[in-house]
């Protein structure tokens, strides 16, 4: 059995008629860094709070290290679960110094002083140990909150958008430092975010949450390249979604003309499908098969993020997002030719 396992979890708030979480399953191995990614309101924070024990749930059970910590009949209180949490606003106790905040988690431990000093030194907080939360920078507050959550050596560490309150400039730095600390001690982490780039860059596994269910769980590579369904495909990264009909096992017909697939199409001839092509998979070529007009460009130095329109007689124009090298000098109104292929069988979805 997995280290932390959520089985068939359903949760409904008393005030609403809909379930926030619907028969949700999730398993996490020891030492894994799993990110829950989803839009706001998809239930990710609720899931975190149920795991922590701040909310009860209606059905299903949660297992940690081979024992049930939460089910409709069993409920171990949060303080007995040994699950650490870092809140979005850190929730540092304003009446305690940085040192007291961290030491608070140790209770009446004999080695309280030495342990607290040790972790503060490791996380370069020792110099600010006597400061109150309001005297700390955002990054320092975040590290104090992390130290407070880690000092009890929790079985699982939960983090609820812990970087979202930081300025962009320092966010990446704090994130790298945090990750390094977590990797060094081999912590098992469940991380919640709505920022896909953050999720892609830091996670061992990403779980995409939507409508109270996990849509897909897998490595960032799998999620990005092999989305399981259309929701995941459209949710992660930028995509062009186009409609087509299967002609044979390698060709699709679309309003733009025929598009070729690199892998065999897993659907029958004549099936209506939607397929995705990422901007970076569209190759600009002088004698490309398709031609469009540049509508707008977003110059980023090393490349252009551009939108082009392909005009077709008696049809609405088709808009396609492309990436072009920054050295190319393109501007709205230019005409560009390009080729596009469907890269993988995972990029095609049946339309019902």
């Amino acid at each position: 059995m997995a280290y932390l396992e959520v089985r068939n979890l359903s949760k409904k708030y008393n005030t609403s008629s809909d379930y926030v979480l619907k028969r949700l399953n999730l398993s996490i191995e020891k030492g894994e860094f799993v990110t829950l990614l989803g839009k706001s309101g998809c239930g990710k924070t609720t899931l975190l709070r149920v795991i922590c024990g701040f909310e009860t749930h209606n059905k299903g059970e949660i297992w940690l290290k081979d024992r049930i910590i939460s089910s409709p009949t069993i409920w171990i209180p949060p303080e007995k679960r040994n699950i650490g949490i870092v809140f979005q606003d850190y929730a540092l106790f304003p009446n305690m110094t940085a040192w007291d905040n961290i030491a608070f988690a140790l209770g009446k431990d004999k080695n309280k002083v030495s342990e607290t000093d040790k972790i503060m030194k490791i996380m370069s907080l020792y110099d600010i140990r006597n400061h109150y939360p309001h005297q700390l920078s955002g990054g320092q507050q975040q590290r104090v909150a992390l130290a407070r959550a880690l000092i009890r050596k929790p079985d699982v560490l939960l983090m609820d958008e812990p970087f979202s309150n930081l300025d962009l400039e320092i966010r990446e730095m704090v994130r790298d430092e945090t990750l390094k600390i977590l990797k060094d001690i081999g912590a098992t982490v469940v991380f919640v975010t709505h920022d896909q780039m953050e999720a892609l860059s830091i996670s061992d596994k990403i779980a995409i949450l939507e409508e109270g269910k996990i849509q897909q769980i897998g490595s960032p590579f799998e999620i990005y390249n092999h989305p399981k369904n259309m929701f995941v495909a459209e949710f992660i990264g930028r995509v062009n979604m186009l409609e087509g009909t299967v002609v044979d096992s390698y060709a699709l017909s679309t309003v733009l003309g025929s598009v070729v697939s690199k892998e065999a199409i897993p659907y029958k001839e004549g099936a209506k499908i939607k397929f995705m092509i990422r901007p970076e998979d569209i190759r600009l070529k002088k004698d490309g098969k398709f031609t469009g007009t540049v509508i707008k460009t977003n110059y980023q130095g090393s490349l252009y993020d551009a939108l082009i329109a392909v005009y077709i007689p008696y049809h609405e124009p088709i808009y396609i997002r492309i990436l072009a090298p920054g050295s190319m000098n393109i501007k709205p109104g230019d005409r560009l030719s390009f080729d596009m292929n469907v890269k993988s069988k995972h990029h095609m979805f049946l339309v019902n």
Partner: protein
């Protein structure tokens, strides 16, 4: 001339007030200062022996009696306030919304009326005595006095502490639990420290209240500074003695204010709850019965007992024909004074509030603070000062109702100012600036543009003044023309003579009238809660 102009503009930061406005503010402040200055000068000019006699014979016991009572009541009310706040803010107690309202209701009883009901029940020849042959408790003992005063003042601590608890983010509690701490630890080490500023400031409110209250304390035959000043003046006709005691009370008050500022500086925290999550209520479980016993105990002794006593005795009074044409006469006397005070304070509060927000300068805030003196200076001191001044310089006014009305206005103008200033602060300067740019005169702007917009605030302030003035006791006793009985005076005199049945109807009338300002208080708390103002 240029040079003087520049200084003048500098004082007002480039926005000098019109001379009329300045004159109104200056003269109001001067009049309000006068009684205090006169008391001080009277005390200073007293012979040295007088001081030393008072210091030796009176001060030690007086200081001890006042401080011990104030601290005991502060302790009682804090414990009650914390428990009730915790129950209504953190637990799954039933009817929480109604409880919040009920716990503020005891404010409708001025302590002297509350004290009256306790004397009726537990007094030497009270109901308990006639029923059981014993009074059960001694209503005039130290702990009874502290208990009775606590029953009618705890809403102040409850309102402050529960408001503070409501603003504490639920995240702190959850963070504590995820650190493995049991609830008791979180309560003692996180929640209590966070409400400590509220506890301290509400204790200060209580301490000031007890120090300046006259009626409740005097009715229960306890001696604090205020009651001993009164008896020094009225009983012994010893003016310099009263002035010296008053001066000491003022000094004592200022020391306390300074102490409060120091303490609050040390214990205040910066909370930054970005997400104020709604707290999951704590299940009371087995404690539920205990909680309800406590709540019912408090409700019984602070509401049910006093209200039913007043009602029953008022009915008795009607049966015995003690309520008649005379009662209307008392009501009329009360209303003449109250309405007079309302008119004066409403007229003055507008220019004073306007000055505060449109011509902010050091001098403005000094004048404004002086206008608020009535809210911290015990009524008995103001009354004493006014007696001194009228007897010395304004003998033609002695024994007229006018002096009573002026006294009440001086004492209660802060109540009007509070709400007038609150509405004034919401008016954008562009409003009157536009009017000025259209060439309107200052008085036109003030009464045609500003008044209509702040009138709700001024009127609700007027309602507060009306009721405060109806309840007022010590000043009315000292300033009234001979034989001019108001409701509160009648109540006091009847009670002093032991005619409780005659006292009850006046009490009931005042209590019913007091529901008006309570309504505004509760509404203000609600507004604060929603963060509108």
């Amino acid at each position: 001339m240029n040079f003087l102009n520049r200084i003048w503009l500098n004082i007002w930061k480039g926005k000098p007030p019109s001379l009329t406005l300045l004159f109104i503010n200056l003269s109001s402040a001067c009049i309000l200062m006068m009684p205090l200055i006169y008391i001080l000068s009277r005390a200073i000019s007293s012979p040295w022996e007088k001081w030393s006699v008072i210091f030796r014979s009176r001060i030690p016991t007086l200081l001890w009696d006042t401080i011990s009572l104030a601290l005991t009541v502060a302790l009682f009310t804090t414990v009650i306030g914390v428990i009730l706040s915790w129950l209504t803010e953190y637990t799954d107690l039933a009817f929480k919304r109604y409880m919040r309202l009920i716990f503020t209701l005891p404010l409708v009883f001025p302590p002297y009326i509350g004290a009256l009901t306790y004397i009726i029940i537990f007094g030497r020849r009270g109901v308990m005595y006639s029923l059981t042959g014993s009074s059960i408790i001694d209503v005039f003992s130290f702990f009874s006095v502290a208990f009775i005063l606590s029953m009618f003042t705890f809403p102040y601590t409850y309102l402050t502490i529960s408001g503070s608890m409501r603003r504490i983010s639920g995240n702190y509690e959850e963070a504590g639990r995820s650190c493995g701490a049991p609830y008791s630890t979180i309560f003692m080490r996180v929640l209590l420290p966070l409400v400590k500023p509220a506890i301290l400031s509400s204790s200060m409110i209580i301490i000031f209240y007890i120090m300046s209250d006259f009626g409740g304390v005097a009715m229960l035959r306890y001696t604090t500074f205020t009651s001993s000043i009164y008896f020094q003046m009225i009983g012994k006709l010893d003016r310099s003695g009263a002035a010296i005691l008053s001066t000491l009370l003022i000094v004592f008050g200022f020391l306390l204010l300074a102490l409060k500022a120091q303490i609050l500086k040390k214990v205040s925290f910066y909370q930054s709850p970005k997400s104020n999550r709604i707290k999951n209520p704590i299940k009371l479980g087995k404690l539920k019965a205990l909680a309800w016993i406590f709540i019912l105990f408090i409700i019984f002794f602070s509401l049910i007992l006093p209200l039913s006593t007043l009602t029953i005795w008022s009915i008795k009074a009607i049966h015995q024909g003690a309520v008649g044409i005379k009662s209307l006469y008392y009501i009329k006397n009360s209303l003449v004074v109250s309405i007079g005070a309302v008119l004066i304070t409403m007229t003055l509060s507008l220019p004073i509030a306007y000055m505060k927000y449109r011509h902010p300068a050091k001098i403005t805030s000094v004048l404004n603070n002086i206008c608020h003196l009535g809210s911290i200076v015990p009524g008995i001191l103001l009354a004493l000062g006014i007696v001194f001044i009228t007897n010395r310089y304004l003998t033609f006014m002695v024994g007229s109702q006018l002096i009573l009305i002026i006294g009440h206005s001086m004492r209660f103008i802060p109540r009007n100012l509070q709400s007038a200033e609150a509405s004034m602060s919401l008016i954008p300067p562009a409003l009157d600036e536009t009017a000025f740019s259209l060439g309107k005169k200052f008085s036109t702007v003030l009464y045609k543009v500003i008044l209509p917009t702040v009138s709700p605030g001024v009127l609700s302030g007027g309602a507060m003044v009306l009721v405060s003035s109806l309840k007022e006791l010590p000043m009315t006793l000292m300033l009234r023309p001979p034989g001019y009985d108001t409701l509160s005076v009648r109540l006091w005199l009847s009670a002093s003579d032991g005619f409780y049945i005659n006292a009850a109807p006046s009490g009931l009338f005042i209590v019913l009238a007091s529901i008006i300002p309570l309504y505004y208080l509760v509404k203000k708390e609600k507004v604060k809660e929603n963060g509108i103002s």
